[in-house]
């Protein structure tokens, strides 16, 4: 590719640009959802426990029928320790997701980090909220009582914490998706071009192979066959054989860029499971994939970002017209991105 034909760099003036006031607002919103919200839940949990601890019986009711009659009890200490551990796990997951989203938005090439981050934040907030709600419910219902008989809740009362936690987690996931993936869209970095002239037509294919794919797939198949003949149980051999076939089937990609759009074929069979018509694509850029991640990550539907990562190195990154991002590692991604931008411009 000739350097003189590389497309002009668009100035980065998006609301998510680092340093702008939009970026500060986004960081605040993320900090409230991922930092302050779980902290407040855990603080409420600790405060209620501290206030009511001395009034709780040694065995507290923790299971109720649908009608609200208590049916099970648990040691006070065990229940609160378990809930505390679960809340801490939720807090850790939320912070992990927060870091992933921040890194994803700052580097903006790591589109799939955002998908992973949203999932981690949603699960983390759910775990923290359900532990906090469970502790508060159990503490309030059992306070001053003597055990099973006196601890009843209103009809369906135990579903309140579950429903509330799911809602809170969904809300956190939505907010992180809304404010976490802004600059994951086209960040104004250079859009390469081939300089395709009017009337010229072109097609590009590139491929990428996970280096460990063949040995790993063959190893799984061989292990499956050996277990098959050696044991009477079928679960393990069938699992290994399936894993081997899956490994061989999905650890290489062949990406085609043509006037009809972008097609990704997977594995030796070339299963074409991913297609983007040209009219759905806004622009294409090249990203450098870090060696830390691999696999099919994220989800276009749920998180607005997905990535097929088979190896470190160059990747083709598509920004779709609806702001979503798709990334696939492929050799010579620069030529593919350049051709795609020219085809979009000519369409």
């Amino acid at each position: 590719m000739n350097d003189s034909t590389v497309g002009a760099v668009r100035p980065a003036r998006l609301p998510g640009a680092p340093g702008g006031s939009g970026e500060r607002r986004r960081r605040w919103i993320l900090a409230i959802v991922c930092g302050a919200l779980p902290a407040a839940l855990i603080a409420a949990m600790a405060a209620v426990t501290a206030a009511l601890w001395s009034r709780l019986p040694d065995q507290v009711a923790d299971h109720w029928t649908l009608a609200g009659t208590a049916t099970g009890t648990q040691s006070r200490l065990t229940l609160f320790l378990l809930a505390g551990l679960l809340a801490a796990l939720g807090l850790g997951l939320t912070w992990f997701g927060w870091v992933a989203v921040r890194r994803g938005t700052v580097l903006s090439t790591q589109a799939a980090e955002i998908g992973t981050g949203i999932m981690a934040v949603a699960i983390g907030v759910f775990l923290t909220a359900i532990s906090a709600a469970a502790v508060i419910l159990v503490a309030v219902v059992n306070a001053g009582g003597t055990g099973l008989g006196s601890a009843s809740v209103g009809g369906g009362g135990s579903f309140g914490p579950l429903g509330g936690s799911v809602l809170l987690a969904a809300l956190a996931g939505y907010v992180v998706r809304r404010y976490g993936s802004l600059s994951a869209a086209d960040d104004g970095s250079a859009r390469p071009s081939l300089g395709l002239r009017a009337g010229e037509r072109a097609v590009w294919t590139g491929r990428a192979q996970a280096r460990w794919a063949w040995p790993a797939g063959v190893l799984f198949l061989a292990a499956g066959a050996i277990f098959w003949s050696a044991t009477a149980r079928w679960h393990l051999p069938v699992g290994l054989l399936a894993l081997g076939l899956f490994t061989l089937g999905f650890t290489s990609v062949r990406v085609t860029v043509a006037a009809r759009g972008v097609t990704v074929g997977y594995g030796a069979l070339g299963l074409r499971l991913t297609r983007f018509p040209l009219r759905r694509i806004a622009s294409a850029t090249v990203a450098e994939q870090a060696p830390s991640a691999w696999g099919y990550r994220g989800s276009l539907l749920a998180f607005g970002a997905a990535a097929v990562v088979l190896r470190p190195g160059p990747a083709l990154r598509l920004t779709l017209r609806d702001g979503k991002t798709f990334l696939v590692t492929v050799d010579d991604a620069a030529t593919g991105a350049a051709l795609l931008n020219d085809l979009i411009a000519a369409a």
């Binding site: 081939l194 395709l196 002239r197 009337g199 010229e200 037509r201 072109a202 097609v203 590009w204 294919t205 590139g206 491929r207 085609t256 043509a258 006037a259 009809r260 050799d331 010579d332 030529t335 051709l339």
Partner: protein, 115 residues
């Protein structure tokens, strides 16, 4: 592998396709054993007749660069002819010489000095 067709180019379409596949094999972007796109699909993507692509593939097969198999389609031949290997070596040599700042005339002088 990029295949780029210019209807304004005086060379016939099949020759343009053939030259670009040759180039891709020469510079290593197509490796032995790799499948070329099916003729019908490539023809649709670059807007030419299917026979044009088949003619290009036929010429490449005659040159020993690809094999045409009934089910697998066009596959890059496992052993490229000696001339093709030399061309790839020359390409690498020239690239290196350019990186050292040699002009085309100086590169030719260098080769002639070795003959």
């Amino acid at each position: 592998m990029l295949i780029r067709i210019d209807p304004g180019d005086p060379r016939p379409l099949y020759e343009q396709i053939e030259l670009q596949v040759r180039g891709a094999i020469g510079d290593g972007s197509l490796v032995p054993g790799e499948r070329l796109p099916p003729a019908r699909e490539l023809a649709e993507d670059i807007g030419v007749n299917g026979h044009t692509v088949l003619r290009a593939y036929g010429a490449l097969r005659d040159a020993g660069l690809i094999e045409l198999r009934p089910r697998r389609g066009a596959v890059v031949a496992s052993v490229s002819p000696p001339r093709q290997q030399l061309a790839a070596l020359a390409r690498g040599f020239i690239q290196q010489a350019r990186e050292y700042g040699l002009t085309p005339a100086e590169i030719v002088d260098l080769i002639e000095g070795q003959l």
